[in-house]
Subunit: 312 residues, 2 copies
């Protein structure tokens, strides 16, 4: 029995990453209905919006689902209260210190998973008593670790220091990569980009099309001094780079960013002026597919790759 | 039958990366004697030194071995002439355009492999008629691709556009990671850091000790404007970062570098003022081991991981 399947009561150890502007109730409930674990991305939701998505998710699936809370966004306490009131049973926290909320959430009967990108925070997670850890590599989209450690190097190292179930994230876009992550020591995977480009994703069609047209080298980790984030290169990205080259102040950079850029890009479809968060693996995504197809492809590729390895 | 084993006439699809200051005849011949493919790193050798190492390698093993030629170093033409005169049968070229020497080498009966870090150069390799490709991810030590693509994302993408055998490099430090690379589509692996820290490596003891003491986050890709290179952080690395922060000119940076820094660090053991090239996976290396142990550990871990996957 897979430890993650047991922990979350799911069929496949596939977590759909909770992403801002992409993972609302349609995406999360469909992933859960297909046997994975769907996560609502609360980072782009006002409290009442989050409550709406939780309610719709409960109506749309009888399977477990969860909420991702990026600790760098506002409304954290309100979000947590809603999650408890609505009896959500699984929470993934990210982009912050796991010590802050883990025990409070657990005391409310919630399974808590925290996302880390280096050894130091993995140890903090253990001290905090999390139920599982997501180790996310440099290739992942969106907010990212300062140490730039890749999935290939991060997973074995984290595996060697923790006992709780380990979820690999960053660069996973196929069943082969899912098996690869398990060879490295993971119990399962968290997948973002592939689901961001799915039919059920709430991302704008323009963004989905830009994802499937992207090639290797079209994303870059930037804004390392503020909060490192991996973006798809566009005019807005170039603006950030120009700001660096002309020695902008930190305040000017923050000002450049604080204009609803991510909503503009990922949700409203402004491919020039919006902030487009996506992983390196987007280069391997060729079609906008249904979650059902994505899930069955992942499982089929996983089994096929396993079969091929037997002949090695 | 594994395609790489067939191409190189080796027992295991494990290539020891040709590294400056680390991979002389002792390392290369021992790897070849253990069933992998040893490579001499010619980038740190004067022509007569290279000839000496080739001769010693031929005396020390009856198995195939090769030479790595980083095309950004001087003495390329002299090196190639020596390789042909000494009847070396395998050449890995890197850090340059594969079109320049591939056909000339092949017309002299040499099997040619080129190292790439993105799709564009993979296609150039195919046009050039190489016999195999090494796809090297962002996590690898030493000189590195400008696009920062990780092994996890690079391998499936390159696999999808080439038919020749594919060797994964970057982040591979265990038999589990070797199997992971194969799940991603590689036929075999090139391993650098693990062999740089081996007993048979010609690196200075101080450097080997620094490798095994290093932790996640202790390496960083830098010098992106010149030739990107992954270094272990030390005083020299800090000097480079300070140069960036005080807006040094490109010439001043080159001047800072051009003082035999890599020899000073990796070969002479000056851990403060030397340039120390190593991969992110160094964080997983805990002991200075013999090549024989490293090879048998890799094979045992590979088989064990494969066995464990059967139970998934």
């Amino acid at each position: 029995m897979n430890r993650l399947n047991e922990l979350f009561k799911i069929k496949y150890p596939i977590i759909q990453g909770g992403m801002i502007w992409c993972s609302g109730w349609q995406l999360a409930s469909t992933v859960s209905n297909c046997g994975g674990l769907g996560l609502l991305g609360s980072g782009s939701m006002y409290p009442d919006v989050l409550r709406h998505h939780i309610k719709k998710c409960k109506q749309s699936t009888n399977n477990p689902f969860g909420v991702n809370i990026p600790l760098l966004y506002p409304n954290i306490e309100e979000h947590i209260n809603i999650i408890i009131e609505e009896k959500v049973k699984i929470v993934f926290t990210s982009a912050g210190n796991p010590k802050k909320y883990t025990q409070f959430l657990k005391s409310n009967g919630i399974t808590v998973v925290h996302v880390i990108a280096n050894q130091k925070f993995a140890l903090k997670c253990i001290d905090s008593g999390v139920d599982a850890i997501v180790a996310e590599g440099f290739e992942a989209g969106g907010h990212n670790g300062i140490d730039e450690i890749t999935t290939m190097c991060l997973i074995p190292q984290i595996k060697s220091i923790i006992d709780v179930p380990l979820i690999a994230a960053g660069g996973i876009g196929s069943g082969g990569a899912m098996l690869a992550a398990m060879c490295l020591g993971a119990d399962g995977v968290q997948i973002g980009s592939l689901f961001a480009a799915s039919k059920e994703s709430s991302a704008h069609e323009n963004f989905k099309r830009k994802i499937i047209e992207s090639k290797l080298g079209d994303t870059q980790l930037t804004l390392k001094e503020l909060t490192p984030v991996r973006l798809l290169k566009n005019e807005f990205y170039e603006k950030i780079q120009n700001a660096y080259n002309s020695n902008y102040s930190k305040e000017e950079l923050i000002n450049l960013l604080s204009k609803g850029r991510s909503k503009k890009g990922m949700f409203e479809g402004d491919m020039k002026n919006g902030e487009l968060e996506i992983g390196q693996i987007s280069a391997s995504i060729k079609n906008i597919e249904s979650v059902e197809n994505i899930m069955s492809n992942l499982i089929n590729e996983f089994n096929l790759t396993k079969q091929e390895l037997l002949d090695l």
